[in-house]
């Protein structure tokens, strides 16, 4: 007689909603007549993401204390729920942003994969066990590999897909190897059991910790585990890049925070230093490399690497304030990231070729709303006031200063100063330069109006700016979520 564990369906409902949406969207590819296929698929995916966000919000409300789930292989807590809300809203915005993409077909498959990726991430952030951790990671990674290579008519897309498979597979292997070492050292898979069983300075355990951290750093795209990021971000369909830059980072960072604090609290002296070093390397490398980029997507890729650095500073503080700072920062960061790539997508559609900085010349005057939105995102990335990016940086720096890492604050400040050069350069191209040689509209005629994309970008701008003025409510949520971890 096999004893089945008690299943808390509510806690799993965000994952199930997205899985269901994914299945329906996939079926629509064959069962729905061609003329309404795209609408049905996109509508289903959008509905799935919105439903998942609502359900996750409900779970957040209903889970004041963490509860084990599925025989302690997962956990139902406010940290996971908040991350799920961020992920699901990001997904919904991406579905809107990709509505009018010039894709001849496969929109159903695209939507199905997007929803499945979302389901994997939503599952991943609730992992409380090395097996569910790996399962979640592979789940969303496999979907992303296909999504990256989805533009089969573009060689760069296929190349990016291949690179991502190889490097991502390597990252997963490292993570799995680390998990094996940790299991060997402690004989446990569950995070809290690992913490309880860990004894002293076990070399296997430390090696396992290092490899798990490295495996997650691949997904966070923190330097020196970032080498896939620029190529993949550049080659992937822009809407997929938007989703990856915001959602993958969110999921991987939240899980990093969780596993470090719940499974390795005894080793915190080791991993705080390791995370701080990775953060510094990311800040330095991401910012310096971004300075040299002409391709906007590559520039944003390096910017996302440097942001991984900022976000990791919050983790390295290993304090409740650090956790709050991380979760707060993820909100405006996701909005800015999705928004910026959505604007890139809009411009790419007009030019019909990859977007370099020259392609942005005068764009701010041609399309006032998109131009203004892009400026807001760039200023937000740079941490200017009136955007949530400012409070994100402020909270991260306060957490680091509070933890005694004043040198991290100085590194962060220096990195911000360098980052201004390329963020403001984008604004300069938008408004202050003209490139008469570049064809303005290559495809002929004025670009089709795209209200869905406008709504997506508008939502991103709204979140970016609103998270500045309403910093306290978001910080309260972040604080509740951080309270589910044992600091």
């Amino acid at each position: 007689m096999i004893e089945t564990p008690n299943v808390d369906w509510l806690a799993l409902s965000p994952t199930l909603a997205l899985l269901g949406a994914s299945g329906v969207a996939l079926l629509s590819a064959v069962l729905v007549p061609a003329w309404m296929r795209k609408g049905v698929a996109a509508g289903t995916a959008l509905l799935g993401f919105v439903l998942a966000a609502v359900l996750a919000g409900f779970v957040f409300d209903q889970s004041p204390t963490p509860q084990p789930l599925l025989a302690e292989s997962m956990v139902r807590d406010q940290l996971a729920a908040l991350a799920q809300v961020i992920l699901a809203v990001t997904g919904a915005v991406v579905v809107l942003a990709s509505w009018a993409k010039r894709r001849r077909d496969w929109h159903s498959e695209y939507c199905a994969l997007l929803a499945a990726t979302g389901a994997g991430m939503v599952f991943f952030v609730g992992a409380e066990n090395l097996m569910t951790l790996f399962l979640g990671l592979e789940w969303f990674s496999l979907c992303l590999y296909i999504l990256v290579a989805l533009d089969t008519d573009r060689a760069t897309s296929l190349e990016a897909g291949l690179k991502y498979v190889i490097v991502g597979g390597f990252g997963s292997a490292v993570l799995l190897f680390g998990s094996a070492l940790v299991f060997g050292a402690t004989g446990e898979l569950g995070f809290s059991q690992i913490a309880a069983a860990a004894a002293g300075d076990d070399a296997f355990l430390v090696a396992g910790l290092a490899m798990i951290l490295a495996g997650l750093a691949f997904k966070v795209s923190a330097a020196p585990f970032h080498m896939w990021t620029p190529d993949v971000y550049e080659g992937a369909p822009t809407s997929v890049t938007a989703f990856m830059s915001a959602a993958t980072k969110t999921a991987a960072l939240v899980v990093t925070l969780r596993i470090l604090l719940t499974a390795f609290p005894e080793e915190s002296e080791i991993w705080t230093v390791a995370v701080a070093v990775i953060a510094c390397v990311s800040l330095v490398w991401g910012n310096l490399a971004a300075l040299a980029q002409r391709d906007v997507k590559r520039l944003l890729a390096y910017s996302s690497i440097s942001h991984a650095g900022f976000l990791l500073i919050a983790i390295s503080a290993a304090s409740e304030r650090g956790g709050e700072a991380l979760l707060y920062y993820l909100v405006p960061y996701s909005a800015m990231s999705v928004g910026a790539f959505a604007v890139v997508a809009a411009r790419e559609r007009e030019l019909d070729h990859p977007l370099t900085l020259e392609g942005f010349a005068g764009f701010g005057w041609e399309r006032p709303f998109y131009g203004l939105a892009m400026s807001v995102f760039m200023l937000g990335f740079a941490g200017f006031p009136l955007t949530g990016g400012f409070f994100g940086k402020l909270f991260v720096f306060s957490a680091a200063y509070d933890a005694g890492d004043w040198w991290l604050v100085l590194v962060g400040v220096a990195a911000t100063a360098v980052s201004l050069a390329y963020y403001l350069n984008v604004v300069r191209w938008l408004y202050m330069r003209t490139a008469p040689a570049a064809p303005m509209v290559a495809v002929g005629g004025s670009p089709p109006s795209d209200p869905a994309l406008g709504v997506a970008i508008g939502a991103a701008v709204f979140v970016t700016v609103a998270s500045f003025f309403a910093a306290q409510p978001i910080l309260d949520l972040a604080s509740d979520a951080a309270a589910s971890l044992p600091f």
Binding site: F384, Y401, M432
Partner: protein, 497 residues
């Protein structure tokens, strides 16, 4: 509420101007109207302000980010009210000038100018360190675009140096803000105590020194002041630079008494060097805007001397001189712009002889000029005299430098006046170049009138800037929040006149 209205009116105005699809002239007119309403609102605020009391007034406070002790608290002291007054008047004149000139893309331009005004007012009104930082930084966004889009030929280089300098300073200040706020547990300037950490003070000091700018952090100044649209240069030198003085008066001195005490000599020497250096450069500058720009550097050095004299005379003089310099500098920049528009050039070599047949231009320029050179009886003279008297107690050498600065000011201003108005007509001065038009006169005359009024009654500003007119006491005691726990070299009570 009034303070909040004073901050919000230009910001909301900016939004309305940006969104409403009005024709060119109506857009500019609407923006000018908002700027005038802002001046009116400031007059209302000033009339409700009890200058005898002099403590924080018209204050509002509301929690913003409670977990970190960040609040939206605003309010005015005497000195910040006067600085705000100068700011709104200069902004109105600048927006009026932009309307007169008819800048391209008026919706974006005027929205940015109003936004700039709002952030400047917010800076002067802020009583929370974070709010101060936010407004201080937000000023950069409109300035960046205004210089970068509407500036002269080398505008891109100008914006780049300007932003690199100011952001480097601002980010150091952010580190200091974080360190100070986290250590104090609150960001409120009203609640926080003092700190003896010299590094935190330096972060603030460098940011203010870049913004002012003070020697040797003025590298961005010549390019930015020359390449910016002339009315933006006016706002930069008249108003934006004064946010640094506000920062020293409200944050630098009250919150860091010991570091200030340790570093006074260094800062005084640098300020004195800046005064002389700026004056000499102004005397050598080949163009109109160069003279006004470098004279601004010199004047900021002078004001800083007054601030770091750390006594009643010096502080009162610094505030008076800040207000006077704001009005003088804006007037001179706008006049420089009017001359440039007539001649197509600001090179002194190509100018000259403009007084003949243009009596109004000559009279206004001469009036503004002799106030700028601090002729006895003018507001600037009163300010400089107070600063000189204040700084004398720090050492006669500083007073000598101030005196030298006054002499040099006379030299460069007279050089400017004679090069523009007198000598023989320059190659760029065409016979048919007009005298000042009524519209232009209507912009410049109010500024000159304010200056004349201030000249007649400088005590209006200098005696109502600090609580109970005891400037040093207010500053040293962190505006009444902390007792004097240590001995300054100058006990405030002894130095009051």
């Amino acid at each position: 509420m009034l303070t909040t209205a004073l901050i919000l009116l230009p910001l909301v105005g900016a939004l309305v101007v940006a969104i409403l699809p009005l024709p060119r002239t109506s857009t500019a007119g609407l923006a000018f109207l908002v700027a005038l309403m802002e001046v009116g609102l400031w007059i209302v605020a000033a009339s409700r302000f009890d200058f005898d009391d002099g403590g924080l007034q018209l204050g509002t406070s509301r929690e913003w980010v409670e977990s970190l002790g960040i609040s939206y608290s605003v309010g005015f002291y005497g000195f910040s009210l006067w600085l705000t007054g100068a700011a709104v008047i200069v902004s109105a004149a600048a927006i009026g000038y932009a309307m007169w000139v008819g800048r391209d893309r008026p919706r974006a331009y005027h929205a940015l100018m109003l936004f700039l005004t709002g952030t400047v007012v917010a800076t002067f009104a802020s009583q929370d360190l974070l709010l101060f930082y936010v407004s201080f930084e937000a000023m950069l966004i409109p300035l960046y675009v205004l210089v970068g889009v509407w500036g002269g030929a080398r505008r891109v280089a100008a914006t780049l140096t300007f932003v690199v300098y100011t952001m480097a300073g601002s980010l150091l200040m952010l580190a200091s803000v974080v360190a100070f706020g986290v250590t104090q547990g609150t960001f409120s300037l009203l609640d926080s105590g003092t700190s003896d950490n010299v590094w935190i003070f330096l972060g603030f000091a460098v940011a203010f020194a870049v913004k002012a700018p003070l020697f040797p952090f003025h590298g961005w100044l010549p390019l930015a002041y020359r390449e910016a649209p002339v009315e933006v240069a006016a706002v930069l030198s008249a108003v934006v630079s004064k946010t640094a003085i506000f920062g020293f008066l409200r944050i630098g001195l009250p919150k860091f008494p010991e570091p200030v005490d340790d570093l006074t000599v260094v800062i005084l020497v640098l300020a004195g060097a800046g005064l002389v250096y700026g004056s000499v450069l102004a005397f050598r500058a080949p163009d109109l805007r160069g003279i006004v720009a470098y004279s601004s550097l010199a004047q900021m050095g002078l004001i800083t001397l007054g601030v770091f004299a750390l006594n009643d005379l010096g502080l009162d003089g610094a505030v008076l001189q800040s207000v006077a310099h704001a009005l003088v500098s804006a007037t001179m920049f706008l006049l420089a712009g009017m001359v440039e528009r007539r001649c197509g050039s600001g090179d002194l070599d190509t100018l000259g002889g403009m007084a003949r047949g243009r009596p109004v231009l000559a009279s206004v320029l001469l009036t503004a000029g002799i106030i700028a050179l601090a002729v006895p009886g003018s507001a600037t003279f009163a300010g400089e005299f107070l600063i000189m008297a204040g700084v004398y107690s720090e050492g006669w050498g500083y007073a000598a430098i101030v005196a030298l600065g006054i002499v040099l000011a006379a030299m460069y201003v007279l050089r400017l006046i004679s090069a523009v108005l007198h000598v023989r007509p320059g190659s760029a001065v065409r016979e048919e170049a007009l005298d000042l038009r009524p519209g232009e006169l209507a912009l410049v005359l109010p500024l000159v009138a304010c200056l004349l009024a201030l000249s007649a009654w400088p005590a209006l500003v200098s005696q109502s800037s600090f609580p109970s007119d005891r400037a040093a006491t207010a500053v040293v005691t962190n505006f009444g929040k902390s007792p004097i726990e240590f001995e300054l070299r100058l006990a405030p009570a002894e130095t009051s006149p």
